[in-house]
């Protein structure tokens, strides 16, 4: 049944506006999604905390103050200190930068890769077979050894090229991305295959729109929903994969705090100083949760059919 949302006369009295950027409509809808707004608020708070926080809380996260080691919350150290007397608040901020940046970039990279491959495979019949075999191959590669090998093989050249922090960052981000794009690719391909048969794509072809623009204008926006879902899951799993890599000694060096690393390091101290695991644990969960709710909201907002309701 076609959903006829009839247009009444009352609605016709709009003045003639030139077409406005559709992102405004997206934003209007997004605003009305309570969960998404809450998620947005939390996520922005987290971003502010990690990126702007250090301006407010000007403590060097690496500064060792042995006299005040293993302290609980106090005015001088709101989240307490670690075993070297480093300020946990500063470390959470600094570590959050890396974790959030890893999460976001790895997710973006994986997403771009997955989407690209998914669209290519779905849209161009010739590439479908080979690309899907490659995807299968990657799916069948055991990730952990692969990550290990990537890290051990390329850490040094990259560190040489970009400096230590940037090198490890690039490596970990790429390693996570390279091993996490396959699901997205599969889902996108499936959707593209279905979309390709939809009449509006045919319509675009009958107009003479070239394949490149069909895929960017008609296909991509319509596979947004599954991509959003992958994206939100992607951030979460990237942050967690990073911490698991830290756990296995393959992540960032210990002098680069990341939430996963801080959480891991705090494990042994859980009985004496639970704050050392609670803070990073809570921040990781909050980030993942907020991103997830934002994803829900975005998915709705990006869909004009829901937007209209």
């Amino acid at each position: 049944m076609t959903d006829t949302t009839p247009v009444t006369a009352a609605e016709d009295v709009h003045d003639l506006r030139p077409p406005r950027n559709q992102w405004w409509d997206v934003w209007d809808q997004f605003k009305s999604h309570k969960g998404a707004m809450a998620g947005m608020f939390v996520f922005i708070s987290i971003l502010l905390f990690v990126f702007a926080g250090p301006w407010v809380w000007q403590v060097d996260p690496g500064l060792i103050d042995i006299r005040s080691r293993n302290q609980g919350s106090s005015w001088a150290h709101p989240m307490g200190t670690d075993q070297l007397g480093r300020d946990l608040l500063a470390r959470m901020m600094y570590g959050g930068r890396i974790s959030v940046a890893v999460g976001l970039t790895a997710m973006l990279l994986g997403l771009v890769l997955g989407t690209l491959i998914g669209v290519l495979a779905g849209y161009f019949k010739l590439m479908d077979g080979p690309l899907m075999r490659v995807t299968d191959l990657f799916l069948a590669l055991p990730l952990l050894p692969l990550l290990l090998i990537l890290v051990t093989l390329f850490r040094d050249p990259l560190e040489g090229a970009f400096g230590q922090a940037a090198g490890v960052f690039a490596l970990i981000v790429v390693a996570i991305a390279v091993t996490s794009w396959m699901q997205t690719a599969r889902i996108v391909r499936g959707d593209v295959l279905a979309l390709k048969e939809r009449e509006f794509v045919l319509a675009a072809r009958s107009i003479g729109t070239p394949a490149r623009r069909i895929s960017t204008r008609h296909i991509l926006p319509n596979v947004m929903s599954p991509i959003m879902v992958s994206a939100t899951l992607g951030i979460a799993s990237a942050i967690i994969t990073e911490s698991a890599l830290s756990f296995l000694g393959l992540g960032f060096p210990p002098d680069f705090p990341t939430w996963g690393r801080i959480l891991y390091d705090g494990r042994d101290w859980i009985e004496q100083y639970p704050a050392r695991v609670v803070w990073p644990g809570v921040l990781i969960s909050l980030t993942v949760l907020s991103v997830n709710y934002i994803g829900d909201g975005l998915r709705d907002a990006l869909d004009p059919r829901i937007r209209g309701r």
């Binding site: 006829t4 009839p6 009444t8 006369a9 309701r309």
Partner: protein
């Protein structure tokens, strides 16, 4: 059809509302009709006029929320279906009232065999054991004209063509010899040649089994071919209702009249230009205090905007809900 016979189904003043985020939708507004044994009532009306919702309200098939059947009375025999509660309703669905839906492609569960799906109501309502249910299922398939029924019981829906699937749906609906069969656009998704087959089948079955049928459709042609009485719905209300020949010959409601004119006729000379009904179907949002058709009505006058017309009798069993008198061309 003896006029005096007691109706099997008597619907009075049915109102159904959908509660949605953007307000209530009054999908069915004080709909009343009855159905006598052995009779075929055709229901027409444009998309969204509330045909399906009306029928599903009768036997509580609407999801609640968002749907709410507000008022009314649905007497099936001597019980009021709106009052007896979900448990008893379930015993009636499929047993006393059979339902056939529009889309045969999706209305059957793809992962169960056709046999299983036919036998399900038999075992539930008639308490048949597997063997007897099977036998009956074979009979039913043969009844709806599927050859090689015994073997085809084991097939899955996707192995049937659209027309055959619709036959299976009919077989399911007929399984427990219901008193009333409701067919919601059973042929809309089918080709004309297949549609003709199904119509032929239903006519046949009706003669054999003598059940009362409600047949919903867009297609006036189908109604003209098989119905005894016709009910034209518009905007959640009954616009016109009467014996089929009477309504087609003397349509009283402006909507019925317009509708009859818009459809080109195959067996009549071609008209130069098709007549159209301008405008769009109404929103069912607010509670109607006016005639829902007034915005598209050529004869609308001020009263139509103020008062929702009540159904008035204009002939034997023929009533219409309109302030305008088609015979005089004047307001009543």
């Amino acid at each position: 059809m003896p006029d005096g016979a007691l109706p099997v189904l008597d619907v009075k003043n049915l109102k159904t509302v959908f509660h949605t985020r953007s307000g209530d939708i009054h999908a069915v507004n004080s709909v009343s009709f009855d159905l006598r044994p052995g009779e075929l009532l055709g229901v027409v009306g444009e998309s969204g006029s509330g045909k399906s919702v009306t029928m599903m309200s009768l036997i509580g098939l609407l999801p609640s929320p968002p749907a709410e059947v507000r008022e009314g009375q649905v007497m099936l025999g001597d019980q009021d279906l709106l009052k007896i509660g979900e448990e008893r309703l379930r015993a009636i669905r499929g047993r006393d009232v059979g339902f056939v839906f529009q889309d045969p492609m999706t209305s059957l569960n793809p992962v169960f065999t056709v046999g299983f799906q036919i036998m399900e109501p038999l075992r539930r309502h008639m308490g048949m054991d597997k063997k007897r249910a099977r036998k009956r299922a074979v009979e039913l398939l043969e009844l709806v004209g599927i050859p090689d029924a015994e073997r085809r019981l084991k097939d899955f829906p996707h192995q049937f063509s659209g027309g055959m699937r619709q036959r299976v749906m009919i077989a399911i609906a007929l399984a427990c010899d219901p008193k009333v069969l409701i067919a919601d656009e059973p042929t809309t998704a089918l080709d004309v040649t297949i549609q003709a087959q199904i119509i032929e089948l239903v006519k046949d079955l009706r003669e054999k089994l003598g059940m009362a049928i409600i047949w919903i459709t867009h297609d006036l042609g189908v109604i003209a071919g098989i119905a005894d009485r016709v009910m034209v719905m518009y905007g959640g209300q009954v616009a016109e209702h009467g014996p089929v020949r009477e309504v087609f010959a003397n349509p009283a409601h402006p909507y019925t009249r317009a509708l009859l004119k818009t459809v080109p006729k195959l067996r009549e000379p071609r008209a130069e230009k098709l007549r159209v009904i301008e405008g769009q179907p109404p929103m069912l949002g607010a509670h109607p205090a006016a005639c829902p058709f007034r915005a598209r009505c050529a004869h609308a006058f001020d009263r139509c905007a103020r008062e929702n017309p009540a159904r008035r009798l204009i002939g034997k069993g023929h009533d219409v809900a309109c302030h305008w008198d088609h015979r005089t061309g004047e307001p009543t």
